[in-house]
């Protein structure tokens, strides 16, 4: 009869507990008065409450605990009785007079415990008697708890090596046999529970069975703690017997739990030495058993063992652990044609981590695991199981974490094949993981071949080819991942110019096909990286081997032109403009006039056609003037052409002040102190005069707009330019022209004026006074000027 509900159960428990407590009271009273007869009577009645069928396992456990506690008192009493003259043998007989078998057996176990302690008979004989007698209870729940009681009281009385109850030469076998026999019977009782009661309560029964599993597993724990259970005993007796029971019980719940117990409670070295036996049992388990978790935990245990104990690695090799695990996993997966993808991936992930710990130098093993994983994934298409995807990322991350070296991971030929099965989103995540690994470990990728392999792995963030329409990626996320690619480029490096040129060509191929959105992130660092390469080229004529270098500056500049000209269409004309100027400057240092001229031409075209914003034009023109001023390679004709266009641009800027400043900046194009061929004082003066004219024009406009006030700042700026060139000794900048300009400024200053301009002018005059104090030519020149 099954209880109708938890309320009824509580009632039954309360009733049982009350009757229990009453009998416990009388038992205690009998004990206090040394009345053995009554103590036996009332304890038997107390224990009869355990015969109930009205309690669930959870509630039954509560009642059992009460009984256990009371029986501890009874055991003490029994011990006292034997000291008062009662023969323990006689006592062992007396308890068998209890009317019902369940209380009788509890009392027998209790008396048996005392019997063992008196050492009047070998422990093994008494234990054998008890474990056999307990067969008398075949009710699953009652029998399970009875045997649990037997296991508990016998725990410290097993005839183990070193125990005070140690027997003869076969003493360990005796202890092991007892525990194994009790374990076997407990498991049978546990498994049989699934058949008690109607089918509609199957789920509840399974839950209840789960609550009791520790009672059974406890036996394996006891076995693992026996001093005498060494490797030989484990391999020859314990493991085969336990596995036999596990396989033959054909119960999913028991099989899963118990095989996990074996893995958890016995030492790692035992598992290592009996690996084929343990693995051989796995395919024999019920198909519904979660082998994936069991094997994963085993491999995790062994991985940790190898990681913490380097000295045991030779044993892993000796027993061929990798081969056995690999084969076992293959068989398990074969046996289940419809194994979920998550299970397979989890198994391979665990095996890979095991391999990386135990055989870090065997890349072929790791690659073999990845290959098996690929084979399993093929035919499944893209993975749509989120957890399987996550596990796959974990599998792919393992080699990166182990080696801290992407180059090593790149040697795994199956690695990119696994990446192929990720969905687009996850490919991006995986690519980011890889790039982060490179940056964190400062890993240099030194060959074009490796760069090619790497970009195959991280193509999730290199191009959109898989998804022409493209999933909409968050803008911030996109920028972040592209910035990481930009950072990555500087890790792709080789000292040898030839190999480095191959590398940048691989990058060019991938970037130019990576979609326009990425170019503004990827082209600049590629240009910078390539420009560095030019500086490392051997100087012509210094080639000791005499053969023509395969990498020349000309080739590199052609390369640069090709990648930069992709940018205006992005559109990123400003970016392309700046890169062209940088390349021109690099070409200048290589004495490549035609190439430098070409880069300037490209920059000028972009300036004229693509840069239309007024502010951007000012900045761009300043860059042009600055770069052009630094150029050394140009002949007269080319320089005149470029200079002429620059001054033309300056005069055409939108705002007068901008025009003025650009025009006077152009004066520097006509006077280079260290090059006599570029010392045209007339042109310098012409620029400055034109600037004055524009400043005057700006002043008039300002005066009209603001009444009678205006800024003289432009004039003061021009004065400083006059002083610069006067000091340099440009003959066309005369004392008179400087004095004339100062006079002009002073006239402007007599009106209400801008305080900052006033301060600027005062500082300039102070500077002139300071220069007059100097020795030599400069001092003389400044002294000639009257302020």
């Amino acid at each position: 009869m099954i209880a109708d509900g938890s309320e009824d159960e509580e009632k039954w428990l309360a009733a049982g507990a009350a009757a229990f407590k009453q009998n416990a009271f009388y038992m205690q009273r009998a004990i206090d008065s040394n009345n053995l007869k009554d103590a036996l009577k009332y304890s038997a009645q107390m224990l009869s409450e355990l015969r109930t069928s009205k309690l669930s396992p959870h509630k039954y456990y509560d009642l059992y605990m009460r009984a256990f506690d009371e029986l501890r008192k009874l055991e003490i009493f029994f011990m006292e009785e034997t000291r008062r003259g009662c023969s323990v043998i006689e006592l062992y007989e007396l308890v068998q007079h209890a009317g019902n078998i369940l209380p009788r057996l509890y009392l027998l176990c209790t008396a048996g415990s005392v019997y063992i302690k008196t050492k009047e008979a070998p422990a093994k004989e008494i234990l054998k008697d008890l474990v056999e007698m307990c067969r008398g209870i075949q009710h699953p729940l009652r029998g399970l708890f009875l045997r649990s009681y037997l296991a508990q009281i016998s725990r410290d009385k097993l005839p183990d090596i070193g125990s005070e109850y140690e027997g003869d030469a076969d003493t360990v076998i005796d202890a092991v046999e007892f525990v194994l026999l009790n374990f076997t019977e407990m498991n049978k009782l546990w498994v049989r529970m699934q058949h008690q009661g109607p089918a509609r309560e199957k789920e509840r029964r399974e839950k209840e069975r789960g609550e009791l599993r520790d009672l059974v597993g406890k036996n394996l724990h006891v076995l693992s703690q026996l001093e005498g259970v060494d490797l030989d005993m484990y391999r020859d007796t314990v493991l085969p017997r336990v596995l036999e029971q596990i396989v033959n019980c054909r119960d999913e719940i028991a099989q899963y739990y118990l095989i996990d117990c074996i893995i958890q409670v016995f030492p790692d070295e035992y598992h290592l030495q009996t690996l084929d036996v343990l693995l051989g049992a796995c395919p024999q388990l019920q198909a519904s058993v979660d082998i994936m978790t069991v094997l994963s935990r085993l491999m995790e245990r062994l991985s940790n063992y190898a990681a913490l104990n380097a000295e045991v690695l030779p044993y892993f090799l000796q027993v061929e652990a990798f081969s056995k695990l690999n084969n076992a996993i293959g068989k398990v997966i074969e046996a289940q044609e419809d194994m979920p993808i998550l299970s397979a991936v989890t198994l391979y992930s665990s095996l890979l981590k095991f391999t990386l710990h135990v055989h870090p130098d065997r890349l072929d093993y790791a690659d073999q695991v990845l290959g098996s994983c690929v084979k399993q994934l093929s035919g499944k298409g893209k993975i749509d199981d989120t957890r399987a995807t996550k596990e796959l990322v974990s599998l792919l991350s393992a080699p990166l974490e182990k080696y801290n070296d992407v180059v090593t991971a790149l040697k795994l030929t199956n690695y990119p094949l696994v990446v192929e099965y990720l969905d687009t989103e996850t490919k991006r995540i995986m690519a980011t993981v890889i790039v982060r690994s490179i940056m964190k470990n400062n890993t240099l990728i030194t060959t074009a071949e490796k760069v090619e392999a790497l970009f195959e792995l991280i193509k999730g963030i290199i191009n959109d080819l898989d998804e022409p329409q493209g999933l909409e990626v968050d803008e911030d996320d996109f920028q972040e991942e592209q910035n990481s690619v930009a950072l990555l480029i500087h890790m792709l490096y080789n000292d040898d110019p030839e190999e480095m040129f191959k590398i940048v060509n691989v990058l060019k191929k991938h970037f130019l096909t990576g979609g326009p959105k990425r170019l503004k992130f990827t082209i600049p660092p590629l240009v910078v990286s390539t420009l560095k390469l030019i500086r490392r080229l051997p100087v012509e004529g210094d080639n000791p081997f005499g053969k023509e270098a395969s990498v020349t500056a000309t080739k590199i500049f052609q390369f640069l032109n090709q990648i930069i000209e992709a940018l205006p269409n992005v559109p990123s004309p400003d970016l392309a403009f700046r890169l062209y100027l940088q390349c021109a400057e690099a070409a200048d240092k290589c004495d490549e006039e035609p190439i430098a001229y070409e880069f300037f031409t490209q920059a000028y075209i972009l300036y004229e056609e693509e840069i239309s914003d007024s502010k951007a034009q000012v900045t761009a023109l300043q860059l042009i003037i600055g770069t052009l001023q630094r150029m050394q390679v140009f002949g007269v004709e080319n320089r005149d052409t470029l200079t002429h266009k620059a001054t033309g641009y300056a005069a055409k800027l939108l705002k007068k002040p901008d025009q003025c400043r650009a025009v006077y900046a152009c004066s520097h194009l006509f006077w280079l102190e260290d090059r006599e061929t570029i010392q045209d004082g007339e042109r310098v003066l012409l620029c400055l005069k034109r600037a004055l004219k524009i400043a005057n024009s700006a002043q008039q406009v300002a005066n009209t707009a603001r009444g009678s006030t205006g800024s003289v700042t432009l004039f003061i700026e021009i004065l400083n330019k006059y002083l610069y060139f006067y000091e340099k000794g440009v003959p066309q900048i005369t004392v008179e022209s400087v004095e004339s300009l100062i006079k002009l400024i002073k006239n402007e200053e007599s009106m209400p004026s801008d305080p900052s301009a006033e301060s600027f002018f005062a500082t300039t005059l102070e500077f002139m006074e300071f220069q007059k104090q100097k020795e030599g030519a400069i001092g003389e020149r400044y002294q000639a000027i009257k302020v």
Binding site: F25, Q28, M65, R72, D156, D214, K218, F266, P267
Partner: protein
């Protein structure tokens, strides 16, 4: 000579070494345990304190994963409660408060503030290159705040303070002995029953 039975329970998070401590005290060699204790375990040990024979019944419990799943019956009639934490794992020390409160709630001792507890900081031998996490001063502070609980720093592995701790535990349990109280409680449960009224049962 009458023997006194004393019930002692060990409480604490999984993995702090309760079972190892118990094994060490029970004169067995230390054997590295790979898994937490499966279910509840019991060690019985006879010792002599102040010329008095005492039987210690020491209950080892499951760890955190079964927090609050122990039957309340398990806590009853305890004479001394031992709280164990790992000096290298802060979380296990932070759990001590919970274990302490859980015991008070379940065992429901007559005078909670005077019930004997002992705190053990275990694994003081562990030397993995890191300094221990829970300083002795912190543990002493906690003990002071809970009514001056006695504190031992132990190592089951290195056999440090194990014997000393359990001796102190036994002494505290002895002073808390409640034999007479037990009798009183039983009398109150069945005060009116004078004669046994046996129920009929089947003879199997």
């Amino acid at each position: 000579m009458e023997k006194t039975k004393l019930k002692i329970i060990l409480l604490g998070d999984s993995g702090v070494g309760k079972t190892s401590l118990l094994k060490r005290y029970n004169d067995k060699d230390f054997k590295q345990l790979h898994n937490s204790t499966i279910y509840v375990d019991l060690v019985t040990k006879e010792i002599c304190i102040a010329e008095r024979q005492v039987i210690l019944q020491i209950w080892d419990t499951a760890g955190q994963e079964r927090f609050k799943s122990l039957p309340s019956r398990f806590y009853r009639d305890t004479d001394c409660c031992v709280l164990v934490y790992d000096v290298n794992t802060l979380k296990t020390f932070e759990s001590i408060d919970n274990w302490h409160d859980e015991f008070i709630k379940q065992a429901n001792p007559e005078t909670p503030t005077k019930f004997p507890f002992v705190l053990m900081g275990n694994k003081t031998d562990v030397n993995n290159g890191k300094p221990r996490v829970v300083a002795k001063e912190i543990a002493d502070q906690w003990c002071g705040s809970k009514g001056n609980i006695v504190y031992f720093e132990t190592s089951a592995k290195a056999k440090i303070n194990v014997e000393e701790a359990f001796l102190e535990i036994a002494k505290k349990a002895l002073t808390n002995e409640r034999q007479i109280d037990d009798m009183e409680r039983y009398r109150s449960v069945v005060p009116t029953i004078e004669k046994e009224t046996p129920r009929s049962r089947c003879s199997c």
